[in-house]
Structure formats: C-alpha cells, structure tokens
C-alpha cells in the first residue's frame, strides 16, 4: 500500500503541467501560451488572458465586469503589469487521494501538498525573443527514509531554470534545466505514456533544446546531460526529438523518439500521437508507444508498450468532462497487460482556480486470471497567482 501511495504521489503531480487538450480551443502549439515552446511551466501574458477569458468560467465575475476587465485582472496580483520585462507567478497544487474507497479494511485517504512554486521570468525584445525562466519550489519527498547514497534529497529545489532566445519567430534555442520533449504532455503524469518512458514530473534534465515552428510543421530536438543535481552515475544522458504536423488546419499528428542512458540503464522510446480539435474547447487525444529498457548490470532487456486515449468535452465554459483509457504491457514477451480507465471532471470556476475530480479503476489481466479492480479517486486543487 505504501508503495502504491508513493507511486501515485510520484506520478499524479503536474509540476510542469500542460493542457494538451486546449487544441480544442484552436491552439495547436504550446508557444502561444507558454514561455517554453514545449509547454508546461509559467504562462505568458497571452496564456494568462486565455486562462481567464476562455478556460475559466465567467459565472463568478462581478456583473459589471466585461471581458477586457477580466483580461486585465489576469496578471499577477490581479492587475496588468506596468513593465514588460519582469513577470512573477506563484503556483500551488494539492490533492486528496482516496484509495479503495468504501472498503472498511483497505480505505486510505490523505491530503498531499504536491507543489508550491515561485516563478520569475525575465523577458526582453520584440515578442519576448529573449526569456529567462526560474521556477523554484516545493515537492514532497517519497515517504520513508532517505535513499542511501543519493545526494540532494530535499523538498525545495529548482524545477526548471533556462534561457531562451528566438532568432526568428520560427526558430528558437533554449538552454538549462527543462522537461524532456516527448509525445503528448498530458496533464496526468500518472499516465503510462509519461511514466514508462520516464517523462514524468521529476524527470527534468539539463540540456540544449532547439525548436522550429513552421506553418504546418513543429519540431523539437533536445540534447541533455541529465539532471546535474543528481549523482553523476544516475544522470540520464541522451537526446530526444519530436515532430508534429498540422492536418486539416486544426488537428495535429506527431511522432517522438528518445534515447538516454546512465551507468545502470539504457532507455529507448518511440511513440506516435494525435490531437484532434473537436471544436468549442473539446478535444480527443491519443498516443501509442514503446520503451525498451536495457539493464546494464543484469544484461537484461525489457520492452514495454502503452496506449492512451482521452476525451475532453466542454459542455460550458469552465467545465471539462474527461474520459481516460490507458493500456500498458510491461513486457511484450509476457501476456499480462493492465488497463486503467476512469471519468473525471475539471472545473475552472474563476481564473486562478482549478478543481479536478478523477476516478481511476485499474486492473491487471493475464491469460489465467485477473486481479481484483483497484479503485481510487482524487480531488485536486490548483491555484495560480
């Protein structure tokens, strides 16, 4: 049970959250709303206004506020910044995790403060062509004693810090500690498509990233040397790349490839994904992929596969109804596989607040038997200032 809690704690958080489903609002690229062209991390001014006027419900604003007023108050401290070069943000996430709900013997529940970040952005030049992003904050350590031999086990650390320069609106280079670019950056880092290829919330790396954004194509290439805060033998060094193409003007398809290794392990993953704009804020997301994990010490190789299908339906402004279906096969040579599915509701009652309720049902299947269902639910709170 402790391991399961630890696993969910590791995977559920959305440190550098991205909302891929916002392709349903017509935004095919993350660059419109984020300083990081691959998404996640601080929102730019446009992203904050979109959050206030398109994503969040307008029901709780004073009746004499028009949309311009709502947009004006989307800035830090509820006002429009007086200068163009400095932005600050605070971001908090916490959730109530309930496992085996309704079971007298097994039900557990706890509140977890998942993330408290302070963000400072310096930006200069036309269209913010030079950006410097520092994202420092709190993330809980796994429960239990600290792991022997691993340094820097602290709850306060830099989530990301990087410099970026866009030579042209189409091409930019970014250097520093960032998330790796790979596949769909779904908000659920519990997703197998994030955890199996090690693209989850604590897998940032130091490196150099190039980004090209054309009329139809968007490409990323990233070379990395691991997270320098880790012991050297643990750092995953390698490269990753992703290509996306816009189809039928409003949808996107893409493919990703990554390879990395440290003293103990070599990882190689590839995936294909699609993002469909269902209009009016609704979207359909899908991804399939494979990861091969080569253990150097034991000289063993394990190949895993996964699939993800998500629907986001937006009946009214501020509300998204989710359906999530996932599949994984930890070892393609075995017949066991796992399916996880569940509905969810994501509600933005007013700018700066997100509440989310997810139900997860997970079951492992094998030719001879299947495990009992594992149920859990999450009540998540996200506040950004």
């Amino acid at each position: 049970m402790k391991f399961l809690t630890f696993f969910i704690l590791l995977t559920i958080t959305t440190t550098a959250s991205a909302y891929v489903n916002f392709i349903g609002h017509g935004y095919t690229s993350c660059l419109n709303c984020h300083y990081n062209p691959a998404g996640g991390g601080p929102l730019n001014d446009y992203g904050r206004v979109v959050g206030a006027t398109a994503i969040s419900s307008g029901a709780l604003y004073p009746k004499d506020w028009n949309e311009e007023k709502v947009a004006y108050t989307s800035g830090f401290l509820f006002r429009k910044p007086k200068q163009n070069w400095l932005r600050t943000q605070i971001n908090y996430r916490g959730f109530q995790l309930v496992q085996s709900p309704g079971s007298e013997a097994n039900q557990t529940e706890r509140w977890i403060n998942m993330q408290l970040d302070g963000r400072v952005i310096l930006k200069f030049g036309e269209n913010d062509k030079f950006v410097s992003v520092l994202n420092y904050g709190y993330a809980p350590l796994p429960p239990g004693p600290k792991i022997q031999g691993v340094k820097n086990q602290t709850e306060w650390r830099s989530r990301e810090h990087y410099l970026g320069y866009r030579f042209t609106p189409k091409f930019g280079v970014y250097a520093g500690l960032m998330d790796k670019v790979f596949g769909l950056r779904t908000i659920e880092h519990i997703a197998y498509s994030r955890s199996i290829p090690q693209m989850a919330q604590n897998d940032q790396v130091h490196g150099l990233k190039g980004h090209y954004l054309g009329e139809k194509w968007e490409m990323f290439g990233q070379y990395f040397v691991g997270n320098l805060a880790q012991d050297e033998n643990l750092r995953m060094k390698g490269a990753t790349g992703m290509i996306e193409r816009t189809i039928f003007d409003i949808h996107r398809i893409g493919t990703s490839l990554t390879r990395s290794e440290n003293t103990f392990l070599t990882l190689m993953s590839y995936s294909a994904h699609a993002k469909f704009n269902l209009k009016e804020g609704s979207a359909l997301l899908g991804e399939i992929g494979q990861t091969s994990k080569d253990s150097k010490n034991g000289n063993t190789e394990e190949v895993s596969r996964w699939g993800l299908l998500q629907t986001y339906l937006r009946p009214v402004r501020g509300l998204y109804v989710l359906t999530n279906i996932e599949y994984k096969k930890d070892d393609v040579n075995m017949e066991d596989y796992t399916v996880r599915w569940g509905p969810g509701i994501q509600y933005f009652p007013i700018q700066r607040f997100e509440f989310r309720f997810d139900i997860y049902n997970e079951r492992n299947f094998s030719p001879d038997s299947s495990t009992k269902d594992r149920w859990s639910y999450l009540l998540q709170t996200h506040i950004w200032l």
Binding site: G26, T28, N44, A54, G58, I250
Partner: protein, 164 residues
Amino acid sequence: MKKIFILFTLFFSLITLAEDQVTVFVSLSPAGSFTAVSKKVKGNLKRIGDNFTSDKISVTVESFKTGIDLRDEHFWKHLQSSKASSSSKITLTDLKAAVGKGMGILEVNGVKKPVTIAYTTKGNEVLVKFNVKASEFKLSKAEYLGVGVEDLVKVEATFGFKSN
C-alpha cells in the same frame, strides 16, 4: 410506429435543412487558428439556368462568434477599425457566377474590393469559397499580447438559393 416515422422524418429534415452561414478561417501567429462564424446572413441568391446572381448578401460584424467572448469583441472592433467604415456590415454585392467560378464586390471596413470566388452546389445549397488579404481592406495587423493574425484569411459561406 407512425409517430416514430414522423419524428424520424422531422428530425432528419431538421438536420439536413440548409442554413445560411459565413465562416471566416483565421490563422494565428505563432501558431493555431480560430473560426468566426455568423449564421445571420441576409440577402438572396438566385439561380437562373446555370448562373447564380445576387444583388446583395450581407452579414453584421457583431453577429460573428469566435468561441471566446473577448476575441469576439476584438474581432468586431478590428473589422470596423477604419474611419472610412460607416457600417457594421460586411457585404458581397453584384455577385455573378457560373461553372463553379464567379466574381463579386466585397466591402469590409468601408473598403470595396472585387473578389473571385469558387463554388460548388449540393441540392439547394451553394458553398462559396474565397480568400482575402486583410491588409487590402485597410485592416492593420492584428496582435494581442504577442499573438498575431495572419494576413491571408479564408472565407466559406453556405447559402440556400432559389431557382427561377
């Protein structure tokens, strides 16, 4: 059974009923797009033989919806940004078309320009397509907090028509 048949026929009729509509496809910079849709189209399109004609088809600027209220307001303001604009309508006049092609005079922001259209018909509906450059209608480059609008805009319009 009879009621079910009537209901089915009514439902099928409703979903296949021609609805006049103008859709403007706008590309964003650095990426993305949005559509502005108006279903409040006024005017008549006539078919005489293989020819289509219309004296005037118009749509009010404020009838366009883009999916975001703030963007609606910006869209409306931008389309009437010129001092020459005395009307809040977009009009297509003197439309003459045959064999899938045609010409008309488009007025946006108080500026009149001839436009070449392409069209296809399906039943009593005609789908008209044409591209325009916003700059040709004295519309300045639109930008909001670093996100801009591409100059070339695609327009699609669906009209029902009367045959004479």
